[in-house]
Point group: C2
Chain length 210, copies 2
């Protein structure tokens, strides 16, 4: 997953010239504390302690708590990249990568879901999340388009399919994080099968319901 900085030019994060590994240290600490304790239970003090620096320093590198969280979000998204190849093979590979990610990065997913909720009422975080979700759906759409092309099917349904498939990914993430007993692997397999059979069957749009 990837997200662009919301406003790369206007949002000056007081980037200091030298010794920017302190900034990195604070970012890592923020990620750790946020994913462990949750957004509303995390104070700047907690993050500073985890990073082993003074409280004031956090605000020296990040103008506000929100900007710090947005920077963390930007980091988290990078940890969740899933795409490695193109076409049908790429789609299947992405599903497999997603299964691995679900097992190995629950911390990133926990924080991600958390920030989706927070972003609904926080402008800055919301903008980051929205941008990320659009980007991700776009990638799925691109893959879907390739798969449809391979099968010589109508490419117009790619956008709708991408919406549904990316929704499935998000929803599996949610269910897995909320409920440890949820069988995510079988759900991902089902989603893969569903999406690929739909891509196969559809050649006149996706209004098959009712």
């Amino acid at each position: 997953m990837t997200v662009q900085p919301v406003t790369p030019s206007t949002t000056k994060e007081h980037t200091p010239k030298l010794s920017s590994d302190t900034r990195e240290k604070i970012l890592k600490a923020a990620f750790a504390v946020l994913s462990r304790q949750g957004y509303e239970n995390t104070s700047i003090k907690d993050i500073a302690e985890e990073a082993g620096v003074a409280q004031g320093l956090v605000h020296y590198y990040f103008k506000s708590k929100q900007q710090l969280v947005v920077a963390v979000l930007f980091d988290v998204c990078k940890k969740m990249d899933v795409y490695s190849a193109e076409g049908t093979a790429g789609a299947n590979a992405a599903f497999e990568n997603f299964k691995v990610l679900l097992r190995e990065r629950p911390d990133a997913h926990t924080l991600y879901i958390q920030l989706i909720g927070v972003g609904l009422h926080d402008k800055e975080i919301g903008a980051g999340i929205r941008e990320n979700i659009r980007t991700e759906r776009g990638r799925v759409e691109s893959l879907a388009r390739q798969v449809l092309a391979e099968r010589e099917a109508d490419p117009r349904s790619a956008r709708a399919i991408a919406g549904a498939v990316w929704a499935g990914v998000l929803g599996i993430m949610v269910q897995k994080m909320v409920d440890p007993e949820f069988n995510a692997d079988e759900a991902v397999d089902a989603l893969a099968a569903m999406s690929l059979s739909a891509v196969f069957a559809t050649n006149s749009g996706a209004q098959a319901s009712i």
Copy 2:
């Protein structure tokens, strides 16, 4: 959607015998404020003001903020019921109802998604959300089983399909709330088409990927 009270017997919410419309008034106010401002920007004082009662009264009816929120969640879930019929017709009807809900109850969905995030680090709220998600997935599974039976397909894949379909519902909800421009209707239609074609095509489990 429905959820059971977490611990119906132990969790005494100081339920007063009479004049319980005040309780209802507080619940409604809490829902309004929570969905408008978000969980971490909502104080008991805000809720009391919205309800037109004194701060102390909120704690008279609800032992803690968490218990109030759980009660609101319980209410929200009732507002999101989607199932009206059985079998394939019931599945299609549920998808249609969901589309209507997406249009008409964004407040409930906003709060629901918000609480999913909060529930990841709050025991009480998390238990409510988990219970709800399991119940919902169970209903989808029941529908899937009926559809599979109608088509004389292997019913063993019902659970996996339900996981993926319910994931799609959750994910569409998320995308719609995060991004007002998201075309939820076409995504729901695609999800419906995908799930029904998968149900049709599958008769030996759901390991079609790779």
